[in-house]
């Protein structure tokens, strides 16, 4: 796909922003700064989603990650530190080994990408397969991004959708049970 200069400018800007904030997340000694830069990583990733045309996903990313997960981590940070203070210093250990493992992973991924053979998923032709009408369609001018999500969630991905709702229920009940003060009912 051809992309113009503005697209590439935004892409390099946002990816530099994301990587910079990610490095601060993994190296900052103060837990609270770590959290705020993680929030910036989430916003940067939402920007990258926008650049690929995943508009609804960018909205969901901001809503759930920066709005929900960040607040969750915030409460966890506050409930496990002293009330007034800058957060416990996090002394890192084994930095060298960490860099080696991360670099090995990166080299492995580059080797994989440079030699990858692409297996495309099967296309469901309407005259061959009876499931073609239930396959998730792409957003078009007739059906926007949000509608495509809705249609896909209720046709091709109905079972994962129901499973995920049960999973969320289990997570809520489990979190309340685990974090409850003992002695109360």
């Amino acid at each position: 796909m051809g992309r113009d200069v503005v697209w590439w400018a935004f892409f390099y800007l946002i990816s530099a922003f994301v990587l910079f904030n990610a490095i601060i997340v993994v190296t900052s000694p103060t837990l609270f700064r770590c959290l705020l830069h993680l929030m910036l990583v989430f916003i940067g990733v939402a920007g990258l989603f926008l650049l690929q045309g995943a508009i609804f996903l960018a909205g969901v990313q901001v809503l759930i990650y920066t709005g929900g997960v960040t607040t969750l981590i915030l409460f966890a940070v506050m409930l496990s530190e002293e009330v007034v203070g800058k957060g416990r210093a996090l002394v890192s250990r084994g930095k060298g080994m960490g860099i080696v493992v991360a670099a090995c992973f990166l080299v492995l991924m580059f080797a994989l990408y440079s030699s990858c053979v692409v297996f495309l998923p099967p296309t469901y032709e309407a005259h061959i397969s009876p499931v073609a009408q239930f396959v998730a369609k792409a957003p078009s001018s007739a059906m926007g991004n949000v509608e495509a999500f809705g249609v896909a969630l209720l046709t091709q991905f109905l079972v994962p959708f129901e499973f995920v709702s049960v999973l969320i229920l289990v997570a809520i009940v489990g979190a309340i049970t685990v974090a409850r003060l003992s002695g109360s009912k």
Binding site: V6, L36, M39, G59, V62, T66, L74, G144, N145
Partner: protein
């Protein structure tokens, strides 16, 4: 009048000067929104002080400018001229960043509000308008808690945590009550939701006769949650002067406090504007024979929004404060239940008709 808009004027001007149009149009619209927001806050603070004075049987500001109209401008100048104090225990970076994190959502939401009918009155109509609004307003929580945490004082931290608990508790019934207009109009886009409500006030979402008036609880729940989300009385425990020595912004002074103040009043206006779009028919006139195109649509929109703001200020002048446990119980046990039942009933009616 219909062919003119700020964006098209900018585009023609920029084509004439051969600069890149898309980015610069965005910049000009952003600056315009900033000035509009400042003007709205100025008007709102003045209205607030005069009206609260009237309710309390006294006159509000009188001396600065004719009838006290310049009072807010002088207050802003006073705040700008104050000394910038930073507490010793404060986490400097977060202390400086927190007002920004609170201010940005209040500023960014103006992009999707449809102020009038021909679409150049709405800076940008996003496909996921209301989802964008919900996402952006959930960032305010982090700013408020960061402000409380970074101040380095116990009062501020506890105020910040209470505020976070209140905000996230009231986000849930608000999201549920927002689903009701989305169900009724079938789209997340603010323009579509306002458009689908039509010219007749008995089809507006606050009491929709097509749905036998069952969308009314959603409107009430949205207004209550909107007051809670913007830290207005009766939900202003986090910033009450008599409860927690002004809560999360106690250590802020001068320009930083001005950011919080600006964000709070701007939030009030924005939340009433969104309620107008979702529930009161946006820019439409109440009856079909009244005009609702062009500048008339802006007039109707502003009329409805300022009426809702006026009601919010009225509540602010009248009601006492709610306690933190009463607040949480109200959100989770009452509002959440009513909102859930309302969504279920409205989706049932929407699916069978």
């Amino acid at each position: 009048m219909y062919g003119f808009s700020l964006s098209s004027f900018c585009e023609r001007f920029l084509k004439w000067t051969k600069l890149p149009t898309d980015l610069l149009v965005g910049v000009i619209v952003a600056v315009f929104i900033f000035f509009f927001m400042t003007f709205v806050v100025l008007a709102l603070v003045y209205l607030f002080r005069k009206f609260v004075g009237f309710v309390q049987v006294r006159l509000g500001p009188r001396y600065v400018g004719p009838r006290g109209l310049l009072q807010t401008v002088c207050d802003a100048l006073k705040l700008l001229a104050k000394e910038d104090i930073m507490p010793e225990n404060a986490d400097k970076g977060v202390f400086i960043a927190a007002p920004l994190i609170v201010f940005l959502p209040a500023y960014l939401v103006y992009i999707v509000i449809p102020f009038g009918h021909p679409s150049h009155f709405q800076p940008k109509d996003l496909n996921l308008g209301i989802l964008y609004v919900l996402a952006i307003t959930s960032i305010t929580v982090i700013g408020i808690v960061s402000a409380g945490w970074a101040s380095g004082s116990k009062w501020a931290t506890i105020g910040g945590m209470r505020s976070a608990a209140q905000l996230i508790s009231y986000e849930v019934p608000m999201s549920l009550s927002v689903i009701v207009p989305v169900l009724v109009s079938g789209s997340l886009s603010m323009k579509e939701i306002a458009q689908a409500q039509g010219d007749r006030f008995w089809h507006w979402n606050f009491f929709n006769l097509n749905y036998f008036g069952l969308t009314f609880p959603a409107f009430i729940i949205y207004m209550i949650c909107a007051l809670a989300e913007t830290n207005q009385i009766p939900f202003d425990l986090p910033e009450a002067e008599s409860e927690l020595v002004a809560g999360y912004n106690v250590e802020y002074s001068g320009m930083r406090f001005a950011f919080f103040f600006l964000a709070e009043f701007s939030n009030l206006f924005v939340v009433c504007a969104i309620a107008t779009t979702l529930f009161l028919g946006g820019w439409h006139a109440p009856f079909p024979f009244l005009p609702s195109e062009g500048l008339w649509s802006v007039l109707w929109f502003m009329l409805k929004t300022w009426t809702l703001t006026f009601v919010a200020l009225w509540i602010r002048a009248t009601y006492p404060r709610v306690r933190i446990d009463q607040l949480m119980e109200f959100a989770w046990k009452r509002l959440f239940l009513v909102a859930l039942i309302d969504v279920a009933v409205v989706s049932l009616i929407a699916a069978t008709s």
